[in-house]
């Protein structure tokens, strides 16, 4: 079972992740080592060309992976991203974006995960992310 509930995660987000609130990001489901998140479309997501801007996708991926990390270690809010790599695969037209994050490896000091980003209702990847979170010693 996830060590944090969706409601608990959303409470952290509401109080302490204002950029996620501003973007409207929400975690919709958590399982141990997995998280699903959604960005409901807003026209502020756009970039030249009428597609969704990269930073929105990077932010959503980081947010989803934070959920996946906390699903394994509980409410350790000071887990922080140490690196993130994103490949943009298709230019996403306006619409909701969903993220599926999963942990590839949980160590004592680092967690490494992968995030698939898709348009809602599609299986086609629009971006793929790998990222590493540092886990503070008090969480061990």
């Amino acid at each position: 079972m996830s060590k944090i509930t969706v409601a608990e995660f959303q409470e952290i987000a509401a109080k302490q992740l204002p950029f996620a609130v501003n973007f409207g990001f929400a975690v919709t489901a958590l399982e141990p080592g997995k998280a699903w998140a959604r960005a409901p479309y807003h026209q502020d997501f756009l970039r030249p060309g009428g597609t969704i801007a990269g930073p929105v996708l990077m932010g959503l991926a980081d947010f989803a992976l934070y959920g996946a990390v906390l699903s394994l270690i509980g409410r350790v809010e000071l887990a922080v991203t140490t690196s993130l790599n994103i490949n943009f695969l298709r230019r996403p037209p306006p619409g909701d974006v969903v993220a599926e994050a999963r942990i590839l490896k949980l160590g004592k000091r680092l967690a490494v995960g992968e995030v698939n980003l898709m348009q809602d209702g599609s299986d086609e990847l629009i971006a793929h992310v790998t990222s590493t979170y540092s886990i503070p010693p008090q969480a061990e």
Copy 2:
């Protein structure tokens, strides 16, 4: 000389990069292959632990590198990020963040660049980014 002025770049941002407007990002100087950008501190930048959230830094780096790309190819708004890699080096306390972007290689189809992120007034890196932009064929 840069193929785009700071004013022209800021006009693109104002009209077509709403996330950058919302974050308050501004390009402050452009030279051929180089761009400087700034994120004036706002409390919405924070994450748990009272430091600046990773997505703010990723967004600023991407924004600065967009400026560095356009400094070389002119107003080709459809240049898009194809990949981005960030290493977070120090947890940034509240304060303005500055970005220095430079192009490492401009090819016909891809531009690769590097961005250093620092707190304003400090030389210490808080994050380091490498990223690739795809240049549309019409720009060649």
Copy 3:
């Protein structure tokens, strides 16, 4: 069906990829957009601590992904890697290493893929790679 056979791929490797020959790398199966490769263990793979050196894993991943790219575009030998990102997840003890590569996106100019690296006989990832290949214009 793969646009290149295992025998054809191994012939390219034998004639034109001496580092892969020296390491003993072999592609063992190809499907459209997928490749499987193997590195039979040799003591020259080791690094301090008695585990397998990172460059061996990076080389195997790059080799496997080259197979996956050619499975889709045929014998376009001038397809070249433009970027590679690897996360090392577990220190691999001596033993054969296997790689599973798959293409996430094939565009006209770029192919992006993912490679899972495991010890032979295990499902546990020892490393995870994402990488981009540039496809020469004559291949379009």
Copy 4:
């Protein structure tokens, strides 16, 4: 002053990094947080198209950064790479390759560095690497 000499580093390589010996890699200079390395050209470096294969460049970058890490923490052989990101910028024709590695941040648990790869005698980058090393607790 570097906490390890070039001779000591080359001794580790000679005894415990057979792939580096096979490739002919050598560290040529060390300063605190910096290392210079060289790969004397050998025809086994080639790939289709007559340029130097990516894995040779990745191996040389990793080797150089290992030197830069040990220059700061001394003979801690169990420092291991946890991630590496490379962008290939120009196709390198046959010839010696040199690497300049420098540490961007040394923390208690992680060191992050950057490596520039060039052809000998040229200032033009052929590849750019960022990478993270994990430092074992006994080294702290």
